[in-house]
Structure formats: C-alpha cells, structure tokens
Point group: C2
Chain length 376, copies 2
Amino acid sequence: MTERIFRYLREQQPETPCLVVDLDVVENNFRRMRELLPAAHIFYAVKANPAAQILSRLSNLGSKFDTASRGEIELVQATGVSMDRVSFGNTIKKEKDIAWAYQQGVRLFAFDSEAELQKLVRVAPGARVFCRVLVDCGGAEWPLSKKFGCAPEMAKDLLRKAKDWGLDPYGISFHVGSQQTDLEQWDKALAQVSQMFFALAEEGVDLRMVNLGGGFPARYRAEVNPIEAYCEAVTRALVRHFGNRMPEVIIEPGRSMVGDAGVIQSEVVLVSRKAANDRKRWVYLDIGKFSGLAETMGESIKYRLRTGRDGTRVGPVVLAGPTCDSADILYEKTEYKLPLSLKPGDKVEILATGAYTTTYSSVAFNGFAPLKAICI
Amino acid sequence: MTERIFRYLREQQPETPCLVVDLDVVENNFRRMRELLPAAHIFYAVKANPAAQILSRLSNLGSKFDTASRGEIELVQATGVSMDRVSFGNTIKKEKDIAWAYQQGVRLFAFDSEAELQKLVRVAPGARVFCRVLVDCGGAEWPLSKKFGCAPEMAKDLLRKAKDWGLDPYGISFHVGSQQTDLEQWDKALAQVSQMFFALAEEGVDLRMVNLGGGFPARYRAEVNPIEAYCEAVTRALVRHFGNRMPEVIIEPGRSMVGDAGVIQSEVVLVSRKAANDRKRWVYLDIGKFSGLAETMGESIKYRLRTGRDGTRVGPVVLAGPTCDSADILYEKTEYKLPLSLKPGDKVEILATGAYTTTYSSVAFNGFAPLKAICI
C-alpha cells in the first residue's frame, strides 16, 4: 500500500467496498518496463483495468493498447488515442466488430483459426495480422487453457494463407499464462517461435514481429521474481533464439502494470463460528467473488490482506463474501489467519488488487453494487 | 422454449446475447406452486432474477419476497410491495442495512450467529427472526457449502437468546441445496428441525415457522422429478415430523419460479480446431462465464442448447465464451455435441436460463456489455 493510498483512505473514508488506484505507481511500472525492455512496444492489456484515468496516464506516456472487444476500443478512443496504437488482440471476434474497428483505423489483429482469418480477409484487407500459437504454460498461477492459439503446424499454414489472401502476415504471438512464475517458459516458447520464423522465411513468408503476450506477475502472497528478472529472461531468450535477426517485439502487460497500483478497502460484515467449539472463524467481507474478487475462483490468486489490528494475536479463518451464494467463498482451503479481535465494521485492505477486479464484478448479483474504482 | 419466446425471437431478432423471459410461465409456476403447497407462504427469491416485470407480476399474484440486500429490498419497494411481505433473508447483513430495512417496515430477518443476533437486537427490536441451521445437502447440483447456517445446538442456544433479548424467535430455516435432486433430503432435514422445535417448546421458546428455503429444481440437461413430486415429499415430511402441531411454512423458490421461463439467445462467433486433425471443435459463443453463465463454473449447471441446425449430423465440441480469459470456458469435460455445419453467425439458444444469469453478468469484463433481459 502506497503512502498516497494510505492517506487517501484515512482522510476520505470512502464507502466500502472500493478500489483505490495510485496512478503514480502505474506510471512507474510503465517507465520501468520501458527501461528494462527498450526495444519492445508496450501494449497495455486494457482488460486488466480500463479506468479512463489509467488509459489516459498510459497514453500520455506513449503506451499502445491491447484490446479485447469493440467496447474496449471505444474506451481507448475516448481518451484520444489514435487507432494505429491499438491492437485488436482477441482471436474471437464478430465480423461486424472487425469491420467497425478497421473503419476506425485499427490495422493490427490477432487470429488463431482459418475461420477468423477469412473474416479478416473479408473486412480488414491488407491489415497486419498475427497468429497465436499454443505453448506449454506450466508454472502459471492463473494457467491458460487451450482456449487460445493453435498448433505450430496449423499456425504456419495459416500465416502462408494470410499472405496468399492479401493480408500482411506480421508475426506470432503466444502467452505463457498470467502470473507466470517460471522464467524458463519464455525460453521454451521462443525456441519454438523462432523455428517457425525461419521455416516460413525460407518459403518467402517474412514475419517481422513476436508478441510475447503478458504473464509478468504482480506480487500476491507468494514471493515472485522481480520484474527485472523477467525482462532479463525474455531478452536472453530472444537473443539466444533470434541472434542478429531480432524481430520487433510486442508485450501486453496488464497485471504487472496495474496490479500493485491498487488496494481494495472492504469492511467486515460478520465474524462467526458454526458451532461453539469451532476452531475456525468465518469472516464475511462486504466484497466477494461476484463483486470483484473473481480471481479467487478455485483459490487461484491469493491476495495479501491488511487490517487495523495487525500485530495482535491471530487465528485461522474462512474468508467469504456477502452474498447468499454459497460459492461466494474467497479462501477456505488456503490457510488465512486474521486477528482474533476482528469484528464487524473493521476495515480490511486487500492488496495488489488493481488488475482484474472492477470489470469482473457482477452488475448486481444479490442486489450488491459493482466495485467502484477511484484513481488518485 | 415457449411458443411466445420462439415467436418473439423470430419476429424481433433482438441483438445477442439476450435473455427473453416469458412472464406467463412465471405466473404458471407461481400458481402451480401455490396449488401444490397451499399452506405455504411463497417468498420469491429475488436474487434469481430481479427484473421489475417479474417482481411486479409476482406481486400481483400475492407473492412475498425473500431479499438478500438493501439493493434488492429497494427493487421490491419500487414495485409498490408493502414491507410486511418482505423477508431480509441474508444471514450476513451490515447493521446499517438492517436499521434501514427496519425503518422501511421490514420485520422478518434471518440470522445464524450471535454477532448477527446482536445487531438485530440493537436496530430491529421486536422483529421476527429465524435461525438458519446447517443440514446435510448431498444430491444438489449446485451444493451449498457451510457458508450459511450453524449447528443445531448453537441454533437452539441463539433462539433462546433471541427471546431473552426482546426479539420474536419465529422459527428455523434450512436449505437443502439449489437444484436439489434427492427428495429424501427434505425428510432428513425436517426430522432434525422438528426435534429442535419440540425441545425448545418444552423450555417455553415457541417457534411457529419452518422456512424450507429453495432447492426446487429447474430442468437442465438431466431429467428431474416433476415439481409435484417435490411438493409431495415436502408435505409428507412435514406431516411425518410435525403431525398435528404443524407450523407455518415458508418457501423461497427462485430457480423453480423463473428458470424455465427464460431463454438466452446467443450467436456463434467462431468455430475452430486447434490442429488440423483435432476431433473436437471449439465453439465460441458471444456469451460466457463472465457475461451471464456463471453457473457453468466447475461445469455445475449443464444447460440444454438448441440451434437452427438441430437434426443434422453432430460432433463433439468444447463450448467457450468470447473473452480473452482462458477460464471463460462453459463445457470442456462435459460432453456436448453440436451440428457439424454450425458456423459463425448462427444462433444458439440456451434453454431454462431465466434464473441466476443476468445479475451474475460482469459490468464490462473485456469490454463486453452485461446480459440484457427482455420480459414478454
């Protein structure tokens, strides 16, 4: 928690639950990333947190933007960003949304299937397109499924077709999984990708770009390698596999740009036991899985907590949200301990919650309002 | 899918994704429930679907309302329902929300812990309160955790205290789990509850009400017992365990009231394979786990699907949503088969989606708008 957020919470006492984002942290994260990977184009993953002030701050710093939908492109547009700084990075797009984006000036599109390529041929002629390939992604705390990407052989075939069909086969993207903690994953993936580059170049299909996706972590409960280590690993892998035929590089950080910039302040609604002799207490907060903390699904992301009673004696708890949904439990298997003196009305801060919180919150599940974001 | 919904979709061609709710089905469900359990007070579980037209239709029929939050009480209020028809059924409430509800005239509250009881004593003096007990709930497709309720011994202790502290210890509630398929669960639970009733009566704590919660199912992929069988089982269990000392009965149906009244129409965005020889296709819809189909979490609820190509040759698919989130997969382990000729732009109807869909949808995850409901 930054001094600025601490002061804001103390002085303003905003209604809970709320997310407070320190824009200076976002700016520092961007500057550091640019310093560590000077050759890379940074496309901020808008889905991580699309708050207008975040987009605007990043835009002023020269960031580009990775978008998932027409809705996100419109948000970027609203901050005055020109469309040549936008990538339509979702491989699953309605044809009418591609056509709309193309009309607005977007010229960079992701795909991973022939059907998607055909849409692009029809409504985005000449656009730069990149194919997402499936890579192994062990080690990620929020692992990716096979939902995105295709097998390398299919990717090569599709990039050949892209050229034949009048598109610009710009490059290849992959994603090692969000909150990736194993630095070797980038090396393994780039080994595959460089082979595809050189094989296609021999056939006259000249790719020029590698999109490394995201996957740089934010710090939750477990220690993670510093961002420097990640950037070094990526640079080393690029040099090892591409040598002096270095391509353009795109990265799409989301979590690592805004995760640690935000703190959710919540309030304890209830502390109870299910039987008189229960060892574990149940602590119910005014925020849960359906109002912003969706990434606790399967207890994947383990947030750090802070209370005003830290330092006093603690005991084990189950942590849950305020809805009548019994699945609205944040941590039951994961051991969390909170002060024994915790009581209704106490504030609990949930740290490093700047990414993937506000937009995940439901419109009104159980009649609870969605999580508000305050950028300072 | 009712004839009215079918006609509406064909004639109006609403933008997808959207939920269309047939209010006549809601009305029929209410009337049938009242016929089958004439002695029970029906409190519609607003969280299942709080659309104003549903609340209004049910209100005209004489329904009462089970609410989870101030937000839901306000929705009910907005339809002109008097507050003596409202239960504040969440056991996790902020004290200020209890105070507000009490000021509005709400006099019926749930609790399951001493801390909650103390809030009620402070800001809802004299109110009727009921204690939720933990019952075994095997057999439910959307099983409840231990999040709500307390052990029977603790419940008895709290009901005694409620009386001592000036509240009206009205009764006991339990919930056998949503989409409960085992009819014997109500019998097991009512055996426990009746014992508590009689034990407390001997001490002079006269409970008068049993709240059976919800748990009546909607029909998804698997066949379920007809609602008649559920009501019979409940009635039989009540008679068996209470005999001629029958208490007032409250039921809180949500899913069984609106589930089969609604159909979501979605559109196929993409059909693809991950490699040329993949047996399974990936079918991506314009609705997913974060835009209304949250109950596919863990593939719990298995919706029935309908396409315009039904009856033609089918093949296995993985069904996924449109976001860049790799967890946004509806069915991967569950076998679903869809027509081999299915292609982008085709409509897919997701049946019996009137409950627990719209309010679960995220405000704007990945920039996608929340699910709209159209009541006809």
